[in-house]
Amino acid sequence: MLQLTTLALAGVLVIMGCAISARRLWRASSTRVEERRQGRLRPLVMACISVDEPDLRPLERVLPADVPTLEALIWHLLTKVRGAVRMALVEWLIECGAVERARARTHSRDPVRRAIAAERLGDAGVLETSADTTRLLDDRYADVRIVAARALGKLGNGAAVPDLLATLESPRPVPAGIVSMALVHLGPVAVDGLAHSLGSRSAVVRGVCADLLGLHGALQAAKWLSLLVEHDPDPDVRARSAVALGRIGFPQSAEVLRRACAALPSNPIAVRCASLRALGRVGGGPAVAALQVAIDDVDDDIGQAAAEGLAAIGAPGVRVLTMVGLAEGVGRERAQDWLIRVSLENDSRQRRAARRPRPRVVAP
């Protein structure tokens, strides 16, 4: 028994040693083969796409053994090119059946294959494949759902907004950060869907919609966001709506933000802070006045947010910071801190501008 154990142990050690060596040799060999293939195919592909009118017909003469490498190369290039080149690559992928194969793989039993397929469909951007990707939003595996959400964002189909938002509260959820990124990728086509979803029963959905409308700079949604800042039952949604209004920079929202930053029991600190920072972006006389009051607030977070808002407004804000920085109030240090930041930022900007080469003026 002991001899058997010793032999078994020795055997396992030898096997592991051989496995390591074999793996290393195999990797070296396959890397060499792959590099040789890439060395043949990459210049060919580059030559086809580096012209005014990309023409991929020469790729039809590629050897069958090289086709998988060629396909992988083109999928990879798809994420790095735009315009006519991208369209040419997508057409090639459609013609050689790669897109159809990816659609078929969305039904694969292997979740990794499904995820890769979804990723590729998103990269290809063929709208007709939206349904295949949308179906994967309800996949059992979180990895697949995440990739599907990203892919829908890249597809650019505004009709996907409700499906994406629905995943936030689904029994098989997709994280809010992933959904948000997908909605950012969708671009302006998503705005209508997001504005419509501001009335959702779910606070999570309303919060995400507020974030995204702010990022998209959706002026048309400012009115609804103002309502959310004042009346939403969820303080987090109120705060995020205030942030969104600041991003949009709609001057008429200053009054709403001013009310939201007032020291009232109905205004939690997070809402007040977000509103103060947003006021700094919106600007205007009432904004400056509200920030000037808040910078001396006993709550440090409120005071810092007000100082930050004043710094963001520009010259009128700097004047107020200067006044407060000279006075003996609670806000003195905050004002001085932000004045220094403004000064350093200006200083840094001037240095960068000085380093930029000046355009030569050629005499006529």
Binding site: M16, A19, I20, A115, G177, D299, D300, L339, R341, S348
Partner: protein, 538 residues
Amino acid sequence: MSEAIAFAAWWLRHFEWFVLAYFLVLNSTYLVMTLLAAVDFGRYLRRQPFAGHADVFANPLTPGVSVIVPAYNEEVGIIDAVRAMLSLHFPLFELVIVDDGSTDETFALLHGELDLVEVPRRATGDIVLLSEVKTVHVPRRGEPVVVVRKTNAQSRADALNAGINFAQHHLICMVDADSLLDPEALLRVVKPFVDDPTRVVATGGVVRPANGCRVEQGEIVEVGMPKGWLARIQVVEYLRSFLLGRTGWSSVQSLLIISGAFGMFRRDLVLELGGLEPHCLGEDAELVARVHRHLRDQGRKDYRIVFVSEPVCWTEVPSTRQVLARQRRRWSRGLAEVLWKHRVMMFNPRYGRIGLVVLPYYLFFELLGPIVEVLGVLTVFGLLSIWAAGQLLGQDAWLINTDFAVLFALVALGYGFLLSLAALTVEEFSFHRMSSWRDLVISFGASVLENVGYRQLHAWWRLKGLWWWLTQGDAAWGAMPRVGFAAPTPKPVAVAIGPPVPVAPLLAEVGVSAPVRNVPGPDRSIGATGTMEPNAEG
């Protein structure tokens, strides 16, 4: 006399069975962790083609990170470290360097390199510190750096707490000043927070020895084995225990230790917990234990602490026996402090796997295990001595059971070597960072030495650490001589520091007189919304 010796031999033989059982259980646990890690690596690597790290970088809602770097007498490598960290590939982060009362040129070098200016910045966190913050500085050129100077409290945790107080982003990443991060390290440890923002509360990255690696401009460009055998053994040890062991524990949601050299936490949670424990040598493990305890006490079971195996933090490991011994004694004492402090969690079903499995494991195998191992070595010597005496005196009853001796060697040494080799195998099939055959052969040799000689010495050091804790000796970090990473370059000239760099001219531009020196503000904590705030707030 001979009866006494015979009795001793009988007792020692029975005790050796206990030691054998101990090694069998311990090594089997390592094997299970290795297998779990291998499965986890396989899953991780298959998912890399669609991991979406580029999306994390491009996402305007990716949370910002404050990288906290405590620095005490780090003049040798601080500038290289700062330059490297400022080059990290991440959309929004700041570097909060805490000069913990350095007596060398650390601050002067930072001042010269970054053109620092003092600012009257208040702390936004309310963690109570052991010593005061003296001044706060930012670069004039606008780099995202804050340098906090404080008096030394002989506590790395206190320096970290000071940095956390001045951090401004949602996530904090604690990094050692002598560590080098892979350029995409932040992206990869942030990704679990992006993918699962409601549940992930902390992530840890793997730490690898940088000794022997080629470093250019603060980045590891070629992985190599160190010259000395002590460091070589640590390369294998770190692979087995840090990479595989922690991945294994993480895969079953039972991670107790995130390395202090590279760990990321939600700032609001750390503030809620009151920061790191300044009087504990194992402050990194203590924080994670406290996170588990706090969240479980709140009734939360769905939180996650994730170990990310790909991004690497490279650090200089001790290359001399004295320094290594000091480090391992400190780790052992730190572990004892953590287990004692959180003993209420031990065997307590309220704390799930952490209480029922992980903490008992660390108690019996990591803390008390060295007692068994050292006694086991002594027992072997004892039995050999008795056998030799028996040979001289013609006492057959004192013969060694050779079968048992072989079995013992198989379980204690052979099994251990198998685990080290398994670690190398998993590494080769997964991340394969060792490129040369020579390094691979050296690692095989180091795997042997790790189990014959090094392990026994390590057990002795850990036992001394435990004794140190029991006798409550003075808990101090001690010095580790640094040699730095890069090839010799001209030493940066330290700028002579006079009075604080004048802020007055800056403020004079806007008509404000001399600034007030930074003073600790009233204790405030940030109102946490519990959500990820956008990284470019309105």
